[in-house]
Amino acid sequence: MRAFIIRRIGQSVLVCLGVAVVTFLLLRIAHDPVYVLLPPESTKEEIETLRKAMGFDQPLPVQFAFFMGRLLQGDFGDSFVMAQPASQLIWERMPATLELSLAGMAIALAVAIPLGVFAAFRRNTLIDTFCTSFAVSGQAMPIFWFGIMLIIIFAVQLKVLPVSGSGTYLHLILPAVTLSLNLAPIIMRLTRSRMLDVLNQDYIRTARSKGVLERGVLFRHALRNAAISVVTIIGLQFGRLMGGAVVTETVFAWPGVATLVVSSIYNADFPVVQAATFYLAIFIVAANTVADIVVAWLDPRISRR
């Protein structure tokens, strides 16, 4: 087990570095950031002076060497648009995104797992059909549409919740529900099918028909089975959560990292984009690593492979 954990963490570190390299390359080839900093009316000399000052006139490998050196110290430079270090900007806003993501995940789990279990036990009845349709519909809807619909219904028409912003837990509800749309359907269907797998195994059916098996034992066994898949999926969906966060944060004016990243890309604000990508990748990789370790703990067969 320990060897597995060490191996896994080692892999993660490599992956993070891979991500950093890719981001560096991608954005450097893309834009000439000098034009963003200066007004269009600038003279050629002003442009060249700034280019030199920012170090953009060096050859690419040299720039990369500097980049990696600073990255290991957590320094991504100052934002081009806001007068602050990029790292600081990201960390200021990261807690809000994490809060939203965790809330979204919590809602998704709280709704989806019980529904999945319920649907599995009441298989092929109306309830099952209802739950499954619910899930399938949820997977078919663009989430910004869903978010704006929620605002229209709950904030504008019924007036029970605030439209946007953050502050009280009331402000968290609509955005978290919107975000959970990405996760809940998959988790529900997964839970359901995993439960069914266990329920349908021959020895279980035999035991049940004989009236031998206790509800409790059955439940725990099935749930454990489901847990493995659900944990794996959560790790994998973390990246998808970011996409959802971009939309949710924009629609609800939630002060998180995702919108900052999007506007930074539009503004060719390299330092912020690089810092954000790197830290987000760390989170995603960490989430996946933790998920894998938890799964290995739940199912020892995996760690022996």
């Binding site: 034009y35 007068a83 809000a96 319920f118 605002i151 912003g165 503004n267 060719a268």
Partner: protein, 515 residues
């Protein structure tokens, strides 16, 4: 099944109780004397020297004061921190400052503050993003405690206008707090004081009861960034926000009917025009555009009035020359090209293109209101006379600017120019029409001469004549199809009395509650 329902009942009951007792709406505005304004992007910094963002400028005018202020009703520049600005000679301007003004931290405002502010802005070591607003100054000399002499490099007629963009900061505090301190907290001389700033969430200001000028009527101001237009409108309708800007013209009627808010609009300096690559700067642009008849045809093909009437709901000012009707030097005797598709076809045929040709239209989102729709209306108009147009849209301002300055934005560009809030024809003639400027796609030597002449003299009458000639050249050569000056369309809560101004700076310090 029954057990499930039984299990649910208490949960549902709790939920019902919760919803019933929930405060929900209570977004009282008048009662706690707070106005909430939503702007499209977060505040970049609290230091007015270090950004060029519109949302930042709006906030700056509340916490800081400019040296000269533009009157929102007359559009004329009037005294603010300066009592008078007079030219001493061709290169020197004497600025007499107001006495008895204090910064919010108690520091006195005086000539030293002005010198410090301008010097620090100009200093390349500081790398302030708003440097450009101070580079016209060659030196600031403190003559007396409340008098400065501002020296320019060349005779410069725009001194008064540009002084509306200089907002003094307290020197002692700035030196102690350094860049990070100034970026985190705003200490100025303005009508509102800084209370708190939660980045990306809200900026809270409170009325400055020791203000030297007319005290604002509203006590508390909150500025919130909300990017999504639908969300802004939802908040306005709900009463969570009281002022929003850049309201799409199509939503105006709806907001007006809502009973919670109304829409107000005012003409602003930003002008929209269709730039044509007359100089052939972009090697890929169609050679037909070199022919004056083709350019005239394009001007006659585009139905600008229909665009103003239907897309903008009448909220725009027709410009005859491509310059904002609000700018100094606009020739209001000029006549815009008439909408005449038949004439356009005839001209095209004469030029050798009876079946039209293909061009690219470049657009950039963010400053032209409803620019997608305007671009597509132009597309339809051009198609009618046989010109096939492909729209090339930019969302990235960096790429857009780079293509522009790099000579790669040929053919047609649907562009707008805000003239950096300087109400003077020079501010658009130079960057857009002078052949030497990186963003210009025109090359007419006679026009260059006029533009250079116009900025080298301070005689207002002479300048007016020079600019009238310049505009005539623009129309004769049809360097750009003149379209219109935009309106600033704002949504305002019904309890608030507030009007937008012509320089796209929302002055909430002039707002008051309705009785």
């Amino acid at each position: 099944m029954r057990r499930f329902a039984a299990g649910c009942a208490p949960a549902l009951a709790a939920l019902a109780l919760l919803l019933a007792g929930w405060p929900g709406a209570s977004q009282a505005a008048k009662s706690d004397d707070t106005v909430v304004m939503a702007l499209g992007s977060p505040q970049p910094t609290m230091d007015p020297r270090d950004h060029r963002a519109r949302v930042g400028i709006i906030k700056d005018w509340h916490v800081y004061d400019p040296i000269l202020r533009r009157d929102s009703r007359t559009g004329k520049v009037k005294p603010a921190l300066a009592l008078s600005v007079k030219p001493v000679d061709e290169l020197t301007w004497e600025v007499k400052l107001r006495r008895g003004v204090k910064f919010h931290n108690g520091e006195s405002f005086n000539a030293e503050a002005v010198k410090y502010t301008i010097d620090s802005m100009k200093d390349p070591a500081n790398k302030f993003l708003n440097r450009g607003n101070a580079t016209w100054v060659s030196e600031v000399v403190v003559k007396e405690p409340y008098t400065v002499h501002i020296l320019t490099k060349k005779p410069f007629p725009l001194v008064e206008e540009l002084l509306t963009a200089i907002l003094p900061v307290p020197p002692e505090h700035a030196k102690k707090a350094g860049k990070p301190g100034m970026a985190a907290r705003a200490i100025g001389t303005g009508p509102y004081k800084f209370v708190s700033w939660k980045k990306g969430v809200s900026l809270v200001l409170v009325r400055n009861d020791d203000y030297w000028g007319e005290k604002p009527a509203i006590k508390n101001l909150v500025i919130r960034p909300i990017k999504e237009s639908a969300t802004q409108i939802a908040e306005l309708l709900r009463g969570g926000v009281h002022v929003i800007r850049q309201v799409p013209p199509d939503q105006a009627e709806f907001i007006n009917k809502s009973g919670t808010a109304v829409v107000k609009s005012a003409p602003v300096l930003r002008v929209v025009y269709l730039q044509i690559d007359q100089a052939g700067r972009d090697s890929r642009s169609h050679k037909a555009l070199r022919d004056l008849r083709v350019r005239r045809a394009i001007a006659h093909a585009v139905n600008v009035d229909a665009i103003i009437k239907h897309i903008l709901q009448g909220r725009a000012m027709r410009s005859a020359t491509g310059i904002s009707p609000l700018a100094f030097g606009y020739d209001d005797s000029a006549k815009p090209p008439k909408h005449d598709p038949a004439l356009a076809k005839k001209l095209l045929a004469e030029a050798g293109y009876p079946n039209g040709f293909s061009v690219t239209l470049h657009t950039y989102s963010g400053s032209v209101m409803a620019e997608r729709q305007v671009a597509e209306a132009i597309l339809a108009d051009l198609k009618q006379v046989g010109i096939e147009t492909k729209i090339f849209h930019f969302d990235n301002v960096g790429v857009y600017t780079k293509m522009g300055t790099g000579g790669k934005r040929g053919d047609l560009t649907l562009a707008s120019w805000g003239s950096r809030s300087i109400f003077d024809a020079h501010q658009i003639l130079l960057p857009i029409f002078h052949s030497k400027d990186p963003l210009s796609y025109a090359k007419v030597p006679a026009l260059d001469k006029e533009i250079d002449a116009g900025v080298s003299t301070v005689d207002a009458e002479r300048r007016k004549q020079i600019y009238a000639r310049a505009q005539k050249i623009i129309l004769d050569e049809m360097l750009a199809v003149p379209m219109y000056g935009q309106h600033e369309i704002v949504g305002v809560n019904k309890d608030l009395e507030f009007e937008p101004a012509g320089d796209e700076i929302l002055r909430l310090y002039e707002a008051k509650w309705k009785r």
